[in-house]
């Protein structure tokens, strides 16, 4: 029961709710880091995934790239970049972006590529333009899978953003890293709880998004 004890102790301590090291500040920092990283990854991964999926080309190269990116250890990359580039936000963001692109890119590519061919054939036969087919015929049907790619990327980013604290940036990881140094396990467990809560919140957010963004005809409910 020590974990529960640690959690209650951490969250009931009023000192943890104020100031630059307070929970609200750290949460905002964490979410901000995650959103920026996810935003950049989506800005890179979505268009490439959509286009390669639509034209059905470049799949092998993508898969290779994604596997290579997945093999990169985020923590190692962070330390390397930090040493090379010094103290700035970039060494923190780059590993997160590298982590998030593969799931977005690969699932988007697969989602668009595997769209049922007859409707696409029908749309072409009606004289619909290529890009209109991508956005009005393929994308709405591929959306659930694309969202699931974004979701797994988001969860990985939110969990991994804790490492930002290792190179003296904020975020919820601050509690974990500091707690470990200070042998303050109450702080470590509290930080870990916050990360888990953030991951769950992300999951919930994507659940809602797919309910509102995906057509009832595609959900078939």
């Amino acid at each position: 029961m020590t974990v529960i004890h640690f959690i209650t102790a951490f969250f009931s301590d009023g000192a943890h709710w104020h100031g630059y090291d307070g929970i609200p500040t750290r949460l905002v920092e964490h979410v901000e880091f995650s959103l920026i990283a996810l935003g950049i990854a989506a800005a890179v991964g979505l268009p490439i995934g959509l286009l390669t999926g639509h034209y059905g080309r470049g799949g092998n190269a993508l898969a290779l790239l994604a596997t290579a990116a997945r093999a990169l250890p985020s923590f190692g990359l962070l330390v390397l970049l930090f040493v090379l580039m010094g103290l700035s936000k970039l060494p923190v963001l780059i590993p997160l972006v590298v982590l998030a692109i593969p799931p977005i890119l690969v699932t988007t590519y697969e989602a668009v590529r595997t769209v049922d061919p007859p409707p696409v054939d029908a749309a072409r036969g009606m004289g619909m333009h290529s890009m209109k087919i991508l956005f009005q015929v393929e994308l709405p049907v591929a959306l659930p899978l694309i969202l699931s790619g974004l979701r797994s990327a988001a969860i990985q980013v939110v969990s991994t953003a804790t490492i930002a604290a290792y190179v003296s940036f904020g975020g919820v990881g601050r509690y974990i890293i500091d707690g470990l140094y200070q042998r303050n396990y109450e702080k470590v467990v509290g930080g870990a709880t916050l990360v888990a809560a953030l991951a769950l919140a992300t999951l919930g957010l994507f659940g809602l998004a797919s309910r509102f963004a995906v057509s009832r005809g595609v959900r078939q409910r």
Binding site: D116, D121, M126, S215, R216
Partner: protein, 390 residues
């Protein structure tokens, strides 16, 4: 807009790897009619269809629509001027039925309200309840989806309709219904329809003209269905038409000229005297009809006269009647239906009825056979014995 004339002139499709899908095909597709491209798989029928809306670009020859070369038109404008129906309908599953049908009108810049109004009108035309407008494709049966596919193709009232195996994915009963619906719609709208199928029966049922293609993309024969059945161009076409083409060819001969004998009909409440006066030469049975004139069944003529009363009376009981089986509508059904009725009849005689189902007479297999011979000689399509001619 009504149909257009499509001229396919020496069209070929050769792929870069050397495969030839269509080889010097020439066809004149008459306007306002259904032209069926039929043949075994690999005969280039779908390729030919898809060259008309340039889903596949031809590599030789040319295709003219109302005298205009399709290569001279912007490809998307060309496609919007043709309805396109494919197997499995290919509906957009994220859009409602009404929105699916309204796709091309919206692309052409129609207002939402006008497109919706048009969708409703078309749903009715293809036999769909307008209450389905807000449903999604997954909520419809295969046959209903295919009706939506046809409605979507008709939405912008294109003069040409291209149909690529449109009814192949539904079961035979539904397919039959869709074929009849298509013929009914065609009668109202008069489009120029090019229809691809691998099913020769479907081709004969819906086609005004049938182009039989052979493997390698060459034309084997181009003829109206009755002519195709009576005089196949060669052994390969004959083989493709199947063993019973003679029987099927009878679908194109009416029964108006068929004389039916009203003498063998007796009412169920007839008196003994009336019964004794009824007879048909060569038929040992009498057809008993109810008070409404509809056939009830066959009664043995000798036994009926012995018992001195109509068999279907309360005492005689209908149990003594043989089933009359299927009846054909005199003057409306074809000789094929009449012959079928005779073959299936327990007495060997077919029952003819009028539009209301009242019996008007009976006719024997021999009399039908004579009518078939007469019809053939009159039309000059006497069945040619291809085997002997070779």
């Amino acid at each position: 807009m009504i149909g257009a004339l499509i001229s396919i002139e020496a069209v070929s499709k050769r792929y870069p790897d050397g495969t030839v899908a269509v080889d010097g095909l020439s066809l004149e597709v008459p306007d306002r009619s259904i032209t069926v491209l039929v043949g075994p798989s690999g005969c280039g029928k779908t390729t030919t269809l898809r060259m008309i809306n340039r889903m596949i670009e031809l590599t030789g020859g040319r295709i003219l629509i109302d005298g205009e070369d399709i290569q001279h038109k912007p490809v998307n404008a060309l496609r919007r001027s043709m309805g396109y129906v494919i197997q499995n309908a290919g509906l957009f599953q994220h859009r409602t039925i009404a929105d699916n049908i309204g796709t091309v009108p919206r692309m052409l810049g129609w207002s939402k309200a006008k497109a919706r109004e048009r969708s409703m009108e078309l749903m009715e035309r293809v036999g769909l309840d307008t209450s389905m407008a807000k449903r999604y494709p997954y909520q419809l049966s295969g046959g209903q989806q295919q009706r939506v596919g046809v409605a979507r193709a008709l939405a912008a009232d294109p003069p040409v309709l291209l149909m690529d195996e449109p009814f192949s994915a539904v079961d035979p009963v539904v397919r039959r219904g869709l074929q009849e619906e298509l013929l009914r719609i065609q009668e109202e709208l008069g489009k120029t329809i090019v229809f691809v199928t691998h099913d020769i029966d479907e081709a004969i049922r819906v086609g005004d003209m049938i182009a039989v293609l052979r493997t390698g993309g060459r034309l084997a024969q181009y003829a109206p269905p009755d002519q195709l059945l009576s005089t196949p161009a060669d052994a390969a076409v004959e083989d493709f038409l199947g063993a019973d083409r003679g029987i099927r060819g009878l679908s194109f001969f009416g029964t108006d000229a068929l004389t039916v004998d009203p003498g063998g009909i007796v009412a169920s409440d007839a008196t003994a005297q009336q019964v004794s006066s009824r007879a048909t030469e060569g038929l040992g049975h009498l057809l008993v009809v109810g008070v409404d004139g509809r056939p009830l069944g066959w009664a043995d003529a000798a036994r009926l006269r012995e018992s001195g009363a109509a068999a279907a009376g309360p005492k005689g009981g209908p149990a003594q009647l043989l089933p009359h089986g299927q009846a054909f509508r005199h003057g409306e059904d074809s000789l094929r239906v009449a012959l079928d009725c005779a073959v299936l009849s327990p007495t060997g005689w077919a029952v003819a009825v009028d539009g209301e189902g009242r019996a008007v007479g009976v006719v024997s297999q021999e009399q039908i056979a004579a009518a078939i011979r007469a019809a053939h000689s009159q039309r000059g399509t006497a069945p040619v014995d291809v085997g002997a001619a070779r």
